[in-house]
Symmetry: C2
Subunit: 155 residues, 2 copies
DNA sequence: CGGCTGGGTTGCATTACGCAACTTGACCCT
DNA sequence: AGGGTCAAGTTGCGTAATGCAACCCAGCCG
């Protein structure tokens, strides 16, 4: 993107996309949410160019969506964590996940499932537990990759 | 974006972003959802370059998110409408709108409000009516720009 | 001492974007 | 009859972002 802003737009959708609308950004947030915290781990998981990943992480930290914390000194090594603002993107990710699920052909069902930690019910695209009806947040849910068979079939 | 796909990603979030994750795309969908249907109208509302708008509209039609319908012949003029798949993006837009509202400073409140057509209640970021509790879809809701005072103050 | 790991930075080629100008066909004004 | 406008794009060009590979540096490992 030439400039990552949308000048003249007063709507909050545009504001949101100015921050998380750049290529890779939401996928980085998704990965951090599912437990990938380190540079190389993110790079391998996403296949993004290292310089782009570096730029995105920097921006996400500036925007207070991620926090960069050292987990050891000499050599200094860092992990990235979601802030409250970052965790608050969960409903948006869940909504996109739902849309993608509904409008992609998956012969063996969707490749990722989300469950309510507490009761084990599956989570709707509105982020509501389909078993107990509770409206959930990032902390209440657990994402599971279903890719086992697919990966096994590939080899 | 260099290529608009995310190779190697099996997650539906990535699939969704391959289609609607390009710059401008979601804002075009938002605009069509709020009643902008014609090329020039979209161009003026968004300030996007005409060639880019042209490319995005073409892709959205290919992806069955928009439908291009002639509203007159000679000269042929077209309008763009949302398909079911396009309308189904509403929860994602609402979630992003909510996030943007919560994490942007608005001295006079958010610039866009969404109401349940039937009962007039305001709509939460989960797309649920806060008055009657119903889970809504694009057709049940009405978006209102609040920019009146701001525009008046500018002149 | 050579290699590996983690977390990046640098340089270069490719691609997409922003902007302005042009096109096409029909209508509108005088 | 000539000039202007509108809608819906298309074309061409310069610039900015991306992808890729190579490089860097500090510590640890054998």
């Amino acid at each position: 993107m030439l400039r990552h802003d949308y000048p003249g737009q007063t709507c909050s959708i545009a504001k949101a996309l100015e921050v998380v609308g750049e290529r890779w950004t939401l996928l980085i947030v998704r990965d951090v949410m599912t437990g990938h915290r380190r540079f190389d781990e993110l790079q391998k998981s996403l296949g993004v160019a290292r310089n782009v990943l570096s730029a995105r992480l920097q921006r996400l930290v500036e925007e207070d969506i991620l926090e960069r914390r050292p987990y050891q000194e000499s050599p200094e090594r860092y992990e990235y964590f979601l802030t409250e603002k970052g965790l608050d993107l969960w409903p948006s990710l869940i909504a996109l996940l739902g849309w993608g699920d509904r409008h992609t052909e998956y012969p063996d069902g969707p490749p990722m499932l989300v469950f309510h930690k507490e009761c084990g019910g599956s989570v709707s695209d509105r982020g509501v537990c389909e078993r107990c009806g509770e409206t959930l947040t990032a902390r209440d849910a657990r994402a599971v990759r279903v890719a086992e068979e697919a990966l096994a079939a590939d080899r």
